[in-house]
């Protein structure tokens, strides 16, 4: 069976995967409630539905971040070697990338959870 887990790539951009997921999640949540609260009267949707949908969106975002963290962990050789990863070799550079990406995935995970907290506690478009 072909694995669904992406193969390792040589790129600087992978570093930004998890923060980008955070950004998409953040903008998505903000835009969704902004549009909903402005157009609630013309939409046949309850605020509950919006919250649930965004809750699902949050779970997807967190899952992508976990996947990115797994890939980073793999790039970091599953943590077999300790930082600082300052060796002047391709391996040293790859380990550094993996470790930094893993750290950023952690931060992004927490930031997505933070952004989801209002969905738990706020139940209407109160101004």
């Amino acid at each position: 069976m072909k694995s669904f887990i992406p193969r390792e790539v040589e790129s600087l951009w992978t570093l930004f995967t998890a923060p980008t997921v955070w950004a998409i999640h953040f903008v998505g949540c903000y835009a969704a409630v902004a549009v909903y609260c402005a157009k609630a009267a013309t939409l046949d949707l309850s605020f509950e539905t919006v919250r649930l949908a965004l809750g699902g969106f949050t779970i997807v975002a967190l899952a992508v971040i976990v996947l990115s963290a797994y890939l980073a962990w793999r790039q970091w050789s599953f943590g077999v070697q300790d930082p600082p990863h300052d060796e002047p070799t391709r391996d040293g550079r790859t380990l550094f990338q993996g470790y930094a990406t893993l750290l950023l995935s952690g931060l992004s995970f927490v930031a997505v959870v933070y952004a989801a907290i209002p969905l738990l506690f706020i139940a209407e478009c109160q101004r």
């Binding site: 950004a23 902004a34 549009v35 300052d86 931060l107 209002p118 109160q126």
Partner: protein
């Protein structure tokens, strides 16, 4: 392992002679045509510092006015101009440019490059900044300065009765300076990604470079929304297009969104480079590598991203739904995590090393202490309910000055103490420095700590006087006394910089025993690196034996300048393997002329002098074309050159491997962000109205769809031109010629929709929005035509061939963005009204 070069003393002397000649800074008045990073960086820095002193003087004027209740030292109008200009100058003319200055000055040396890839672009940025800055600052002497606060909120700032020419000066002067900032961002990103010394892999980069890379990326996404906002604002002021006028469907809140999408990341754009300086200083004075290099990268990248999720915390009191506020409150708390990480990294480095207490450390530590207090009040005001109480009071004034002066000003001063020997070969005085520090530290706290209390007691910001017996008198008097003590500290520092200093007895290039590469440079030579070393460590001066001597003996890459041209190495992004010997622009008038002419456009526009505007625009256009024609994508006399150590590298590279392609890509990302902001505006107006067209007819679907198809056709023709060029000039020329004709038709079709349907942009915000988006795309189409015509001319002139095809490749890249812009524009304008109906 590569065998290093070995030259006899005579050979070395001859090499040095050639290098000196190539990199020589011209003398006399031609000095000002220099484009070398060390000159531009220095001018930039000194100019920004001078603007800071000017804005500081305005602050003292305000504090003098507020010392006692019911004071009448200055009028309300002058006070309004003073605080508006104080904020504007500090943010736009000091805080951002000073870091661009430091980056332009330091980066090549830190990265082991001779020069950044686009020295003339840096020069252009500097001259734009200087002219724009003088224009904005000078206005107060004619009682014409902006007076509506540094954020220019409409409807106050769109009211021509109240905010006269000052608002236009703000909008146009600063738009001009934003161009300079984006130019600097392009230079910095390409420089860091492509111009590092061989072997300096991304896990070897100096911390400063990591921070600057992130900051330059942030500029690309933060400044364009403000440019988009400026366009809307100026269209309202100049032509009465009602973007912010509620009576005709506009909404002032859109300006607040666009301003703060810029304004909040801006705070971190200012803060991160200052922290980057600390990340260079702390390891040096702890005499050990930084603890947690990867954690610093986490902090820089994390802060860079999260800072874009904070803008609404400036708008907590504007009546947005509370759940929206809560998202931004959450992000505002989350950003404390990476910010805290970097401070803990510094503390850990100091604990793990042996700390040498010196002036840079004193200023750094003092700054951090102040910043932490500002950070803690930041956590308080990030909570919406607390902010509802504190908003627009002196509590906020205290908070922002603790953050900016602690997080930015003190570290900059620390950086100046640290790098002064790098610039001049001499150290600043310890004794003067200590006096300056204590005056500044004590003065700052006496000035700003009491503002927390006057704020909590309800004193609003931006009032030119206040009645007695409100319990504010004592706090204000203290603040004024503190401000003058602080200013005395700054003055002491300035005198120390300019007082004559004796020549040092022994030549010591690295007086602090630092480990990073920039300290190998000799400030008395213009060439930067004598030879470009191979890097195998994060702290090469500590860990690579004989590095200094080998560099100076020319034993590494590019020890010579036989071609008589300014050359630097281009390396690969991840592993810094040498891939090109890049020839960079030398001394030239053209950046200065282009910048001054472009400045003329903005200044003439301010006063609605249409003929000078057009004249200056034509000069700018010709100057830039001349600059490109004579200075870029030059066909070299030889394909490959010997760069030393037995390596030959190509001189001419095109496509994604070239620096020019990257510059185009980065510029267009910024341009795309501005476009996205305009589209955001379109949908913003859709959300605030039940019927956003207000019953007006739209552009219809026909003409927008015609324009869309024509733009896509022109894009395909451009791609075809690039492909055909590889086979010979004939097909390429036909495709380009056809592309020009189709693009002209596409532009006309783009305007036909709103024109044929008689949309009057002054009647309502809907037609105004349609017009502004259509115009944006058509103007880009016009630029696309110029580019196609330019490539055509280059082909006919024999300057673009199948082998040397940078021009057409970069133009094609532009057209990818152009096609995207056109598709989004005409799909939204033509189809969305039908969908939403």
């Amino acid at each position: 392992m590569v065998e290093l070069g070995n030259f006899s003393p005579e050979e070395r002397a001859a090499q040095e002679e050639r290098l000196r000649k190539v990199w020589k800074t011209p003398g006399g008045w031609r000095y000002w045509t220099s484009v070398n990073n060390s000159e531009i960086g220095l001018w930039y820095g000194v100019t920004a510092f001078a603007f800071m002193l000017f804005a500081g003087a305005l602050a003292l004027l305000m504090r003098a006015q507020l010392a006692t209740p019911n004071n009448d030292l200055v009028s309300a109008e002058l006070y309004n101009q003073a605080f508006t200009l104080h904020g504007t100058v500090m943010m736009f003319l000091f805080a951002v440019p000073i870091f661009e200055a430091v980056a332009i000055f330091l980066l090549p040396s830190m990265l082991g490059a001779r020069e950044l890839p686009f020295p003339r672009l840096s020069a252009f940025g500097f001259w734009s900044f200087l002219l724009g800055g003088i224009f904005v600052c000078g206005s107060i002497f004619f009682n014409a300065a902006p007076n509506a606060g540094w954020f220019m909120y409409p409807p106050l700032a769109t009211d021509k009765e109240y905010a006269g020419i000052g608002a236009d000066i703000w909008l146009l002067g600063l738009s001009f300076i934003e161009v300079a900032s984006i130019a600097a961002a392009v230079e910095i990103i390409v420089g860091i990604m492509k111009c590092r010394a061989p072997g300096m892999r991304i896990n070897m980069m100096p911390m400063f470079a990591w921070y600057l890379l992130i900051v330059a990326g942030m500029i690309l996404f933060a400044f364009p929304p403000l440019i988009a906002g400026d366009i809307l604002f100026e269209m309202e002021r100049m032509f009465d297009w009602p973007f912010f006028d509620v009576t005709r469907g506009g909404d002032p809140l859109l300006w607040q969104h666009l301003f703060w999408i810029f304004g909040h990341p801006e705070v971190y754009i200012i803060f991160l480079p200052a922290i980057a300086l600390m990340a260079m200083i702390v390891p040096t004075f702890s005499q050990r590598p930084i603890v947690g290099y990867s954690w610093i990268v986490l902090a820089a990248v994390g802060t860079g991203f999260l800072s874009f999720g904070l803008w609404v915390h400036h708008m907590f009191t504007t009546g947005l739904p509370q759940i929206s506020l809560a998202f931004f409150s959450a992000a505002s708390e989350a950003v404390a995590i990476p910010t805290g990480v970097q401070i803990f990294v510094f503390i850990a480095t100091m604990l793990a090393g042996r700390v040498i207490f010196s002036l840079p450390m004193l200023f750094g530590a003092g700054g951090l202490a102040i910043f932490i207090i500002g950070g803690l009040t930041g956590v308080m005001v990030a909570l919406a309910p607390f902010d509802w109480q504190a908003h627009d009071t002196y509590f906020i004034v205290a908070h922002l000055h603790y953050v900016l002066i602690g997080g930015m000003f003190f570290p900059i001063v620390a950086g100046i103490y640290y790098y002064f020997p790098f610039v001049t070969g001499k150290k600043l005085s310890d004794a003067w420095g200590k006096v300056a520090f204590w005056l500044m530290f004590v003065g700052f706290n006496v000035a700003f700590f009491p503002m927390h209390f006057s704020g909590l007691r309800g004193m609003p910001r931006r009032v030119f006087t206040y009645p007695e017996h409100f319990g504010w008198d004592l706090f204000n008097l203290l603040s004024t006394i503190g401000a003058f003590i602080f200013a005395a500290g700054v003055l002491t520092f300035v005198i120390d910089i300019f007082r004559p200093k004796p020549e040092p007895e022994t030549r010591n290039l690295n007086p602090w025993n630092a480990g990073t590469l920039e300290w190998t440079n000799d400030p008395s030579e213009d060439w930067g690196m004598r030879s470009v070393p191979i890097i195998t460590s994060r702290y090469p001066l500590w860990e690579q034996e004989n590095l200094q001597a080998d560099i100076e003996a020319g034993r590494y890459y590019l020890p010579d300048a036989k071609s008589g041209k300014r050359e630097t190495l281009v390396t690969s992004v991840l592993d810094a393997e040498p891939i090109q010997c890049l020839r960079v622009g030398g001394v030239s008038y053209v950046p200065m002329i282009s910048a001054l002419a472009l400045g003329g456009v903005f200044i003439a526009l301010t006063y609605h002098w249409w003929i000078p505007t057009i004249l200056c625009a034509v000069i700018t256009f010709i100057a830039i074309l001349w600059w490109l024609w004579t200075g870029t994508a030059q066909i070299p006399e030889t394909e490959e050159v010997d760069v030393g150590l037995g390596k030959t590298l190509p001189v001419y590279v095109s496509g994604p491997a070239s620096v020019g392609w990257w510059a185009m890509f980065i510029t267009m990302v910024g341009d795309g962000t501005a476009f996205a902001s305009l589209i955001f505006g379109y949908f913003f107006y859709w959300t605030v109205h039940d019927d956003f067209t207000a019953g007006a007819t739209g552009p219809g679907a026909f003409w927008p769809m015609v324009a869309l198809v024509l733009f896509v056709t022109a894009w395909l023709l451009t791609i075809a031109a690039r492909a055909l060029n590889e086979k010979g000039p004939a097909g390429c020329r036909i495709a380009l010629g056809a592309g020009i004709l189709v693009t002209i038709a596409a532009c006309l079709a783009g305007l036909a929709g709103p024109y044929v349907h008689g949309m009057d942009p002054t009647s309502n915000v809907y037609p105004a929005t349609v017009w502004v988006i259509a115009l944006w795309t058509v103007v880009h189409g016009a630029v696309g035509i110029v580019m196609q015509a330019y490539s055509l001319a280059r082909s006919f002139a024999g300057r673009m061939t199948a082998e040397y095809d940078q021009d057409i490749r970069n133009v094609t890249l532009y057209w990818h963005f152009m096609a995207f812009t056109a598709v989004v524009t005409f799909a939204v304008l033509g189809l969305f009204p039908m969908v939403s109906a």
